[in-house]
């Protein structure tokens, strides 16, 4: 969506289905220490991205401090652009949250493609930058 194009709006462009769609992230987690896999329909959320790791929310009992995991992320934008990342990682911190059946884990990557990780992060960073630009234009400050 480029607001610099001041062309008349065609009715077909008036409502784009993709405007109502969010980026989708599919996450697969295998615990190579316990040789178990987090079920595909489990609630797994990618919360934070660090320089060399991530923070995830996983079902409780998925892993513990010191375990090694194999993680795979596949993100798809509303425009159907895909970007993905796979790595092995170590659980640096595993916090069981009191009132949730969730584990909050901090992972640091073990063997990974740095350039691939940067590309993956760029997928989110660029969307964040777009949002900030849009906000500034829409609000005027």
């Amino acid at each position: 969506m480029n607001p610099d194009h001041d062309t008349p709006v065609d009715s077909d462009e008036l409502i784009r289905v993709s405007d109502f769609e969010s980026m989708k992230i599919r996450i697969e987690v295998k615990n190579t220490t316990t040789r178990t896999e987090v079920p595909k329909n489990a609630a797994v959320e990618l919360l934070e991205i660090h320089d060399r790791g991530v923070v995830l929310a996983l079902p409780a009992q998925s892993c513990a401090h010191g375990h090694n995991l194999m993680i795979s992320f596949q993100a798809t934008t509303p425009q159907k652009k895909e970007f993905s990342f796979v790595s092995t990682a170590k659980v640096e911190l595993a916090e069981k949250l009191d009132d949730d059946d969730q584990l909050r884990i901090t992972l640091s990557f073990l063997q990974y493609d740095e350039a691939g990780w940067r590309r993956f992060c760029d997928g989110f960073n660029s969307r964040q930058a777009e949002i900030e630009e849009f906000f500034k234009a829409a609000r005027g400050f």
Binding site: I15, R16, F20, V55, P78, Q102, F135, A138, R139, F141
Partner: protein, 464 residues
């Protein structure tokens, strides 16, 4: 000004801002709440300041009880939208000017972002986020409150003058403000608002356009311009602007309804059909959107009947009926439109679309009588009408048909009682009942004139 501070000074200024403020974090995910709290703690917030809510209702309750100065919410809070908490915060927070509302969410859709920008949310952070982005975003938003640029301070002064009714003074203030920023769209918007108060509608239009020169998607200038054109009944211009607003800020169903209304007013009927096609591909449709798209399709259908494009009209009525999913008001509109053109057979097909559970109701019975009025002998129509009234099914259409048929049949004695009864129940339609008693039934436009073949089966394509 905050932007000129170095990072250390900014961090200190933020610590000062956040000190003592109650902070509400509303997110269904405990892990997410913990992430956000950890980062805020690293920025100077203390544990005692935090209240955590896992649902919309918990968050709403916390806002009412605690009036938090900082609310950080996910856009998606179960079935509710976190953005709705902003209105709660505005309602309950006494020091709104210093408060912060931040969305931190995995919802990256343009519709959610645009809605947040429309509502003037302080900042929007997507998950997954880096701690750096989170800190920078929240800090920037907070420091805008504690030490805003001169431009925004002057605008605030102007807004106070505007609220106090001092339009001329406010105008001078806003005009001065526009010299303080490289892209002063907001300043021009407020100038437009001042001109609006001074009833200078053309100059008002100019102000919004000036604002849009700096920022083509400045939301307030776009909406101001739309409202300016709409108030001046410049429908084509209003339509062009509202289409642009909907293009860049897609999620507002009320705006879609304005678009549909203007499409009809400006006779852009083919646009309505396109909107319907797009509408059918949207998953998240609300009641209002459904209502308006159905109404727009019916209006289009009526137009095509008038233009002798009967087959096309029927197609649109079919679409409206399908989308309406048994909403009886829409079916009623379709049936009355078809009967206005003498298309009783087609009207009857739509009558069959009433859900079984609604067929004892007044909408169905009124439409059934209206169809009978075109297909059955007068005496049967009168008998049916009286039966409906005896069952306490009252509708202006039932009375109208009964009054007219009774007048035609010479039932002058009963007529007066009928008219009085109709007036008692529907006083705003008195004139219509009087007219029905005097006017013989006008022959409906013939079905062939409407371009609809009289035989059953697939209507042939009407010549365009």
């Amino acid at each position: 000004m905050a932007e000129k501070l170095d990072p250390k000074a900014q961090a200190k200024a933020f610590e000062k801002y956040i000190a003592g403020k109650k902070i509400l974090i509303a997110d269904p995910s405990g892990a997410s709440r913990a992430s956000i709290a950890n980062i805020l703690a690293s920025m100077g917030a203390k544990t005692v300041q935090f209240t955590l809510a896992s649902s919309y209702l918990e968050a709403e309750d916390a806002i009412e009880r605690l009036q938090p100065g900082v609310v950080i919410a996910d856009y998606d809070l179960g079935k509710r939208c976190g953005l709705d908490l902003l209105q709660k915060q505005r309602l309950h927070n006494k020091s709104l000017a210093q408060s912060l509302f931040v969305l931190v969410t995995g919802n990256t859709s343009q519709s959610a972002v645009a809605k947040a920008a429309e509502e003037d949310v302080d900042t929007y952070i997507i998950k997954p986020f880096t701690a750096g982005v989170f800190r920078a975003s929240v800090m920037k938003a907070a420091l805008m409150k504690t030490d805003p640029p001169e431009y925004l301070k002057i605008l605030d002064r102007g807004k106070e003058e505007l609220i106090a009714g001092k339009a001329q003074e406010a105008l001078r203030t806003f005009e001065y403000a526009t010299t303080l920023d490289a892209a002063p769209s907001l300043g021009h918007f407020y100038s437009g608002q001042a001109h609006n108060l001074l009833k200078a509608t053309e100059v008002e239009e100019g102000s919004y356009n000036k604002g849009l020169e700096y920022n083509k998607i400045h939301y307030k200038c776009l909406v101001g311009l739309y409202e300016n054109f709409a108030a001046r009944k410049r429908h084509h211009e209003a339509y062009a602007v509202i289409k642009k607003v909907s293009h860049y800020f897609p999620a507002n169903p009320q705006r879609l309804t304005a678009v549909l209304r203007l499409a009809i007013v400006t006779q852009s009927y083919e646009d309505v059909e396109r909107y319907y096609r797009i509408f059918t591909s949207i998953d998240d449709r609300n009641e209002e959107m459904i209502k308006y798209i159905c109404a727009a399709l019916v209006v289009c259908g009526k137009y095509y009947l008038q233009q002798n494009f009967g087959s096309r009209a029927l197609e649109l009525f079919q679409k409206a009926a399908i989308t309406a999913s048994g909403r009886t008001r829409i079916l009623r509109e379709i049936i009355t439109s078809l009967l206005d053109f003498g298309l009783a057979k087609q009207a009857d097909e739509f009558l069959r679309r009433f859900p079984p559970e609604s067929q004892k109701g007044v909408d169905y019975q009124a439409m059934s009588l209206l169809i009978m009025d075109q297909t059955s002998p007068r005496t049967l129509v009168i008998e049916k009408g009286r039966e409906l009234l005896s069952q306490n099914l009252r509708d202006p259409i039932i009375y109208r048909v009964l009054i007219r048929r009774s007048a035609e049949h010479g039932l002058t004695h009963a007529l007066e009682d009928l008219i009085n009864e109709a007036r008692k129940h529907f006083p705003d339609q008195s004139a219509i009942f009087e007219k029905a008693a005097k006017t013989p039934k006008a022959a409906p436009a013939s079905s062939s004139a409407a371009g609809v073949p009289s035989s059953t089966g697939t209507p042939s394509q009407a010549k365009k």
